[in-house]
């Protein structure tokens, strides 16, 4: 199919690909080989994870090229699900850990 500028070299994708690999390796290094404290490691890898999400959203998922309402709706819903999964799991698992003590 003909379409969105296929003749240009896809720099965005290549860069995104490199970024996502580098971010992953950084996380592996921080978790396994660095001498940071546990808290520092957790904050580092959470930050890296957020950066990783940003790379995916901007370089591969074209979050900037929206189509108005539907686009906004899906982004809000995704954010809702992400919060449910992350915050929900932390809340539930913490409650379990406390009552196990």
């Amino acid at each position: 199919m003909a379409g969105n500028n296929h003749n240009k070299f896809p720099w965005n994708h290549v860069l995104g690909f490199i970024f996502s690999i580098v971010l992953t390796l950084l996380a592996v290094w921080a978790a396994l080989y660095s001498s940071l404290s546990i808290t520092a490691i957790v904050w580092t890898i959470v930050t890296l994870a957020l950066l990783q999400a940003a790379v995916q959203l901007f370089m591969f998922m074209h979050i900037g090229e929206g189509e108005g309402k539907a686009q906004k709706g899906t982004i809000y819903f995704s954010a809702f699900i992400a919060v449910v999964i992350v915050a929900g799991s932390i809340w539930v698992m913490n409650a379990m850990m406390h009552s196990m003590m």
């Binding site: 819903f77 809702f80 699900i81 539930v92 698992m93 409650a95 379990m96």
Partner: protein, 650 residues
């Protein structure tokens, strides 16, 4: 690894299975060779990207899996009919309920519904195929290979035995050594790719490929339900993918995500599993709701009551389905605030569900109801599903769940919702849409026999289980004591199980019988139905619509018939060449490599896992250099085909 560890040995049942597998494989090869059908198989089926053919293959695989899961079920009933039976030992019994549950949900219910979606959705929205036909073939083949990988476990290497929920530490390396549990992880992983791709593919199809004039609020209800199901798939399946990957890392590469020691969190597995698992049960019920809506409206000869309420209730169900997961482990020891929160959200789901039930009832109210097999399955759904839903609300009360949890009461609940919801819908949809695919109906007499046997058998089998639960019988036990008082109800349940088995056999026989003896149709609209899929002739030409219809409101086809308008006038309408996608062998080859890779990882032969993965990457690269331009069907050919299928002279 020694050969007798590779093949499962020592059990006469397994040897029997070995022999029948080998015989049926020889049989298939023999028939294909004798009638020179290999080329046909490759050209028409293995490489197809046609949504109708993929749908047929999905449904066929699902029926096959229903058979396998059904045999598992009957084995369990045989073991439980009488107390202290020694037909299956506890290990074998564990393996059977594990494969039964996993196969029924992942490899039967979902593929059956996705198969119907494949067949129906493009036709209902007036499209010529899905948005990404190639991807659709990848979906089917990854599902199929995942299913095969899971299914060979019982003859090669041993079955998983930690339940379809596979809770750790039971499913961990210490308590479940060997390949069994790995089969579960990799089979589901491979099939899960296919499901996720289906979710994306059909959502894009529904959003982007509707016929002109079909606004969102003019979409048929089955298409709506499919769209919402796709959204749930897209958000829920990645959670499963990650959870499975983490457990695979734990088991094969020695990490500690879910282990008891070294900082692992076993309960996190349960948490992640149900974060996917509860949305999953809605993935298998929403398309079912869509099917019932179509069938009930068609055979009540009325438009669907409360169309908007139906849509909004599904949207609400979809959102709520992500915030109730903890109800599956109320007893795991969270505090009262967590349990109360999830108790309330769970009960809230029953409100939109109840709205839908009333809408179906009002659709029938004052309708001219026509009873046939498709309609019978839909009618039976309503009361039976209500029983399942009401007992669900009983389970939703966290305090009460401490009594019900992991008893036969729970088993009865989820079979009431899954069988009278999902399975009845699959059968209803099969009877309803079958003529569209094969140009003849399924026989009504046999259909009614199988319906009554299955439906009554279902109640005889599962209703007593509620009382077994009250009497304290736990789920997942392979036997019980003489003095427990559970014998009578178990015996009754087994009778029901046999009735369901006979009902299923009649249904399958009906397909054979109908191919041979049912009269061929002379119309594309045998039910006098309402939506666009019936505007096409039967069998549907591979490009679906010679001319894309123009949609002016709900139930467009009904309106066309009222106005005496034909969908296509070969003499007057100007046709244009149709652009169609090429068939491709890449999906089946790529999925075979995935199978090889998965099989290697199951046995922890890393070289084989890597080799398979390289194969996958190579096929992906091949695909990305394939221009895939498709081809045009010329006007002459379209005319010829349409004259033939419509049996008219131009």
């Amino acid at each position: 690894m020694k050969l007798d560890e590779f093949f499962v040995t020592g059990d006469p049942l397994i040897y029997g299975a070995d022999v029948s597998i080998i015989l049926s494989m020889i049989g298939v090869v023999f028939v294909l060779t004798k009638y020179k059908k290999w080329g046909w198989l490759w050209k028409e089926w293995l490489t197809t990207v046609d949504h109708k053919k993929l749908g047929i293959m999905y449904i066929l695989s699902a029926v096959l899996m229903l058979f396998r899961g059904g045999v598992d079920a009957l084995l369990m009933r045989a073991q439980l009919t009488m107390p202290e039976t020694e037909f299956l030992d506890s290990t074998h019994y564990n393996e059977i309920f594990t494969t039964h549950g996993t196969i029924m949900i992942i490899f039967m219910a979902m593929p059956f519904l996705i198969g119907l979606m494949n067949v129906v959705v493009p036709l209902q929205i007036g499209a010529r195929d899905v948005a990404y036909p190639f991807l659709n073939a990848v979906s089917f083949w990854t599902f199929f290979m995942g299913a095969m990988l899971f299914n060979i476990s019982f003859v090669i290497g041993g079955s998983p035995g930690a339940g379809w929920t596979s809770y750790v530490p039971l499913a961990g390396n210490e308590l479940s050594p060997g390949p069994g549990q790995n089969y579960y992880l990799l089979g589901l992983q491979v099939a899960g790719i296919g499901t996720l791709l289906t979710g994306i593919n059909f959502l894009v199809t529904i959003l982007k490929m509707r016929a002109p004039g079909m606004t969102l609020m003019r979409m048929p209800m089955f298409t709506w339900s499919s769209a919402i199901t796709c959204i749930i798939i897209i958000f829920a399946f990645p959670v499963l993918t990650v959870a499975l990957a983490l457990m695979t890392l734990d088991r094969i590469f020695g990490t500690h995500f879910f282990t008891m020691v070294d900082g692992g969190m076993p309960m996190l597995w349960a948490n992640l599993f149900w974060l996917w698992g509860h949305p999953e049960v809605y993935i298998v019920i929403l398309p079912a709701f869509g099917i019932f809506s179509e069938v009930i409206s068609t055979f009540s000869r009325k438009n669907l009551f409360g169309y908007k309420a139906m849509v909004y209730s599904m949207v609400i169900i979809a959102a709520l389905s992500f915030v109730v997961w903890v109800h599956h482990f109320f007893t795991m020891g969270a505090d009262a605030s967590v349990n109360s929160f999830f108790s309330v959200t769970t009960m809230a789901i029953s409100i939109p569900t109840g709205v839908k039930v009333f809408n179906w009832l009002f659709t029938m109210y004052k309708g001219r109801i026509k009873i046939n097999t498709a309609m019978l399955w839909s009618l039976a759904f309503i009361p039976n599903f209500v029983i399942g839903g009401v007992t669900g609300v009983m389970l939703a009360m966290a305090a009460a769940d401490y009594q019900y949890h992991n008893t036969y009461f729970l088993v009865a609940h989820f079979h009431y919702v899954l069988i009278s919801g999902t399975v009845f819908a699959c059968f209803s949809g099969l009877y309803y849409w079958y003529p569209k695919l094969f140009n003849h109906k399924l026989n009504e007499t046999l259909g009614k026999w199988s319906f009554w046997l299955f439906m009554i058998g279902f109640n005889v089998c599962f209703f007593p289980m509620y009382f077994l639960g009250f009497a304290g019988m736990p789920r997942r036990v392979h036997t019980y004591a003489e003095g427990s008082g559970w014998f009578e109800l178990n015996a009754v349940a087994s009778v029901g199980g046999v009735m369901m088995g006979i009902g299923f056999v009649i249904l399958v026989y009906n397909i054979y019988y109908s191919i041979r003896y049912e009269p061929r149709l002379t119309t594309g609209d045998p039910w006098d139905a309402r939506n666009l899929e019936w505007a096409t002739p039967s069998p549907v030409p591979y490009y679906n619509f010679a001319k894309i219809p123009e949609v002016r409101g709900l139930d467009e086809f009904w309106r066309m018939k009222k106005e005496g308008k034909k969908d296509l006038d070969l003499k007057k309408d100007k046709l244009e060449p149709i652009h169609m996608p090429d068939y491709s062998g890449v999906p089946v080859i790529m999925s075979t490599f995935l199978f090889i890779s998965g099989f290697g990882l199951v046995f922890e032969w890393i070289w084989m896992g890597v080799a398979g993965a390289i194969g996958v990457v190579i096929t992906m690269i091949m695909r990305s250099f394939d221009p895939d331009e498709g081809y045009h069907v010329e006007v002459e050919e379209i005319k010829e085909i349409e004259e033939h299928v419509r049996r008219e002279e131009a």
